[in-house]
């Protein structure tokens, strides 16, 4: 993990403004850059007023589902006599996604501040930051930032001298993709096996330790201080296409592309220009073959589909995919699609929590068939079987991991069927033939 690239002029650095700025990590440095003023402002406000501002801003969950954040906060009923909890989902494990990692590495105090504001807004005294087990540096930074915030009186039983109690605990996960699913994360926080829970009850009714709980993504919470500082209208105004998507969004770009990295653009930015201008387009002599725009769980796009897509929640759906986590995986014409999809399926098979039958057996079965096709041992019937397995894995399980595994398979077979068929009829991987 090195330093980030220099910001591209067409980017709108809000969350990423201080990426690479070593001094921004410390409390002193963060204060010099305007940090904790939003929290000070928030603690003087009624929780419902903060929630309303966030509602008006149009901020939506950046973890993948895109649920309106203010609405989610408003589910937490004040004065119900129960302890409320805020849980920050920092278990960023979606393949191809590394935006939360950079927020925590470079601007840990932004997240502490966001958590403190969020906790106050939902009537919680305790916030948990659940960090992915493999994230060693982000964990280090977050622990240090929380320590500094306590030492300075920002957190604790008298947060910023207001008499309000706000505790933030950093919790390290043990390395399981499924713990990024919010109910599995709550089980993990409680010390149980990270298995997703059946909903209902929803977390806002009975979540962490059975109490009302709100779960927000790192990027979502980090955006909140900016909204309080600059006002909801300003945030809502940052929208190039659909008015239902506002603000900036971090996109993690990886794969066969000139300049991989994190890019922050305003919602609705044209995806084609993003890939070509900001990220530099394909590697020399290559062409894009497939784009997975929102982490491994979303449908695969063809370059043509990607070209006409506006980068926001609605735009990606119109483009046949989803915004997801904003993890853009670029695959070029030197890659074997069957191999890439098999690799994705293998990931999901490895990470299935094993509760639901369709997921436990289906992810592994899918992987075995795909790997067999890739090795030149497939049959045409296998493609039908794959689609029927995918159908059985969709919409029938406790969480969506099963659906996530089926998604790239279905879109892959639909959009790159000739590649699958070439493996079957040629009894070998055609790409391997090129390489040889």
């Amino acid at each position: 993990m090195g330093f980030p690239h220099r910001s591209h002029p067409r980017e709108t650095p809000l969350l990423s403004k201080h990426f690479g700025d070593v001094d921004a990590r410390t409390l002193t440095g963060w204060r010099q850059r305007g940090g904790y003023r939003a929290l000070e402002q928030a603690l003087a406000m009624e929780p419902v007023a903060i929630t309303n501002i966030v509602k008006e801003s149009g901020l939506r969950g950046r973890g993948g589902a895109g649920f309106p954040t203010g609405l989610k906060w408003s589910f937490m009923k004040p004065g119900d006599g129960k302890p409320h909890y805020l849980a920050c989902n920092a278990d960023e494990s979606e393949p191809g996604t590394f935006k939360d990692r950079e927020i925590m590495r470079w601007t840990p105090h932004a997240l502490v501040e966001g958590c403190a504001i969020g906790a106050h807004a939902i009537g919680a005294e305790t916030a948990y930051i659940y960090i992915r087990g493999e994230f060693t540096e982000p964990l280090l930074r977050m622990n240090e930032a929380v320590r500094e915030a306590y030492a300075d009186g920002i957190l604790g039983k008298n947060a910023m001298g207001t008499g309000k109690r706000i505790d933030v605990h950093v919790h390290k996960g043990a390395g399981a993709y499924i713990c990024g699913e919010e109910t599995a994360m709550m089980n993990s926080l409680e010390g149980r096996r990270g298995n997703p829970r059946i909903k209902p009850p929803f977390p806002a009714v009975a979540g962490l330790f059975g109490q009302p709980t709100t779960i927000n993504n790192v990027e979502t919470l980090a955006a909140v201080p900016h909204i309080l500082t600059n006002g909801p209208e300003w945030y809502k105004g940052m929208s190039l296409a659909s008015p239902k998507s506002s603000g900036t969004k971090l996109f993690s770009v990886c794969g066969n592309i000139q300049r991989p990295g994190n890019y922050e653009v305003v919602m609705g930015f044209p995806f084609g220009e993003f890939l070509r201008d900001l990220c530099g387009g394909p590697l020399p002599g290559r062409r894009f073959k497939a784009i997975i725009p929102g982490g491994a769980s979303v449908p695969i796009q063809t370059p043509e589909e990607a070209d006409g897509t506006m980068m926001d929640y609605e735009g990606f759906i119109a483009g046949g995919s989803m915004l997801g986590s904003g993890g853009v995986i670029v695959i070029d014409d030197a890659q074997c699609m069957v191999k890439q999809i098999a690799r994705l399926a293998r990931f999901f098979a490895h990470e299935s929590c094993a509760q639901c039958t369709q997921c436990r057996e289906g992810t592994a079965w899918t992987t075995k068939i795909l790997e067999r096709i890739e090795a030149g041992q497939g049959t045409m019937e296998d493609l039908d079987t794959l689609l029927e397995i995918a159908d059985n894995m969709t919409g029938k399980t406790i969480c969506v991991l099963s659906d996530s595994c089926a998604t790239p398979v279905v879109s892959g077979i639909k959009k790159f069927r000739e590649e699958f068929e070439a493996h079957i009829t040629g009894k070998r991987c055609p790409m391997r033939a090129v390489a040889a």
């Binding site: 059946i198 094993a354 639901c356 039958t357 057996e361 592994a364 019937e381 919409g395 029938k396």
Partner: protein, 517 residues
């Protein structure tokens, strides 16, 4: 309960009204519809993981798991739409792809829900062409062996040990299709109630070592019975093969044992099959015990008893009926009962392996028998009726010079030379009758096997004996004895054999106590 809101809905075209909060699966049961399921069990927390109970709820975009979805007013539920059938077919196919399909050598075969539902609505073939996953068989300790290849990871066993036994030694280990049921290091399934996981397992993954390879399910004859091994009176099923008891399993009764039975109770059945039985009436003829017919033996017993004081040493394993007629012999009645440590099942109120290790201690007490450790105060002129007490551990010197009449399943060792008459009787599995459990619940047991030789139910022999002694008694079936008992014993007043049913009924006093509690 007037404060419970009732919900009305339609399941498979049938109108159903159930209390609010009831699951679709339980609601369907009330109108006789069994929605296929594996992980759901009424005694365990809902897991919702097997996804077998998916049903079609009108207007809902997705299929709903019937076990984890509460009923709602006006819901229209179909269990057999194409969508629901396809989903369940898909689950069954997935459950079988790594299953070894070794039904011919699997103990569960014939009583396996994987077989049943596959036969009912599964695919005819499998599309699985890959190698199957393999994991070796593991000894889980206690009476349990784990065959991971057959496991469908329904987690019933894990939830039983966690939430019912409160001895969390099992868990799901690993993820994805590598997942297996794991046992914590150093822990074993030695909990007194651990073998219930074998019954709970819907497939052949958890098996009883005791029953392993002993019989095929379809060779067994099953009878509703009561576990005779302690005063709890757990409802049980006795399973026999060729007249031999080969397994005892729990029979559900929410008022006594829920769905469970302890290991001590279920595994202590071999004595029922013992072959060194007293099979013929015997009496002293020319200085030695000789086999005779029932008539002379009964006449000899009557002659011995006439005008004498009787001391009855009864077994608390005897039925209420036998104990009642024994009490009519007059004289003094005592019983001895074996003791053992009490072992509760934490998650179920008032369910334990009890210290008194015999089924009918309460019944014996109700019939006027008193508990004793040793026999005393027997005079030379007395007649001691040894009613199925094996005399083990009893100082036979205490029998003094009394005349001995044995009515029992065996002839106690060491006293053969002194026995005047021995009358062969059946044990509880060879007759029908009732026991009264420690909370005063009167429960019926059915005959499970044929009686050996000329053995008769003890109450039947006593009917004849009492008649010879001038006490009018003409009982031909157990229910007649019970009804006479109910008429004679105030604590059983108003009870009738025919209304006990298969789940029993509390004594009037126990019922009143239960109501005020």
């Amino acid at each position: 309960m007037p404060d419970t809101k009732m919900i009305s809905l339609t399941i498979e075209g049938r109108a159903v009204t159930v209390p609010e909060g009831t699951s679709i699966l339980e609601a369907a049961k009330t109108v006789g519809i069994l929605i296929p399921h594996y992980c759901y069990h009424p005694a365990l927390p809902v897991a919702g993981v097997c996804r077998m109970c998916l049903v079609d709820v009108e207007k809902a975009p997705k299929l709903a798991p019937a076990c984890a979805t509460a009923v709602a007013d006006g819901q229209v539920i179909s269990t057999r739409t194409e969508k629901a059938l396809e989903a369940r077919k898909g689950v069954l196919e997935m459950l079988l792809i790594n299953h070894p399909l070794d039904c011919p050598i699997c103990d569960q075969s014939g009583e396996c829900e994987l077989q049943d539902y596959t036969y009912q609505e599964g695919r005819q073939d499998s599309r699985y062409r890959e190698p199957k996953r393999f994991n070796p068989v593991e000894d889980f300790g206690g009476d349990v062996v784990y065959v991971p290849n057959r496991c469908i990871l329904c987690t019933r066993c894990v939830r039983f040990m966690d939430d019912v036994a409160h001895d969390p030694v099992l868990s799901v280990s690993e993820r994805g299709d590598r997942a297996v049921i794991g046992k914590f290091d150093g822990a074993d399934l030695t909990h007194e109630w651990a073998s219930n996981v074998v019954d709970l397992c819907p497939v052949g993954a958890l098996l009883s070592k005791d029953f392993l390879n002993k019989a095929r399910a379809w060779e067994l004859d099953r009878s509703a019975s009561i576990c005779p091994n302690c005063t709890q009176g757990c409802n049980a099923i006795i399973e026999t093969r060729d007249n031999q008891v080969v397994r005892m399993r729990p029979r559900a009764n929410p008022d006594v044992n829920a769905y469970f039975m302890c290991d001590t109770g279920r595994l202590d059945y071999r004595w029922i099959n013992r072959t060194d039985r007293l099979e013929q009436p015997m009496m002293h003829v020319n200085g030695a015990l000789a086999a005779v017919d029932w008539e002379p033996a009964l006449a000899a017993a009557a002659a011995a008893l006439r005008g004498k004081r009787a001391v009855v040493l009864a077994s608390p394993m005897l039925s209420n009926e036998s104990l009642f007629l024994l009490s009519r012999l007059g004289g003094r009645g005592v019983f001895r009962v074996a003791q053992g440590p009490e072992a509760p099942l934490e998650g179920v109120p008032d369910l334990a392996l009890r210290a008194d290790r015999a089924a009918n201690v309460r019944g014996a007490e109700e019939m006027g028998f008193s508990r004793t450790a040793a026999l005393s105060g027997v005079g030379a002129g007395d007649v001691v009726v040894i009613a199925d007490d094996d005399l083990e551990g009893l100082d036979t010197a205490a029998l003094g010079g009394a005349t001995l009449i044995v009515m029992g399943t065996t002839l106690p060792e060491g006293i053969a030379g002194r026995v005047a008459v021995a009358l062969p009787t059946t044990n509880f599995s060879e007759e029908e009758g009732t026991f009264t459990n420690l909370r005063g619940r009167v429960q019926r047991f059915m005959q499970a096997r044929a009686a050996p030789g000329l053995a008769r139910p003890m109450w039947y022999a006593l009917t004849d004996l009492l008649a010879l002694l001038g006490q009018p008694s003409a009982y031909f079936i157990a229910s007649e004895v019970f009804d006479a008992l109910a008429a004679a014993k105030p604590s059983y007043a108003g009870m009738a054999y025919d209304t006990l049913g298969l789940r029993g009924s509390p004594l009037p006093a126990a019922q009143a106590a239960g109501r005020s509690a």
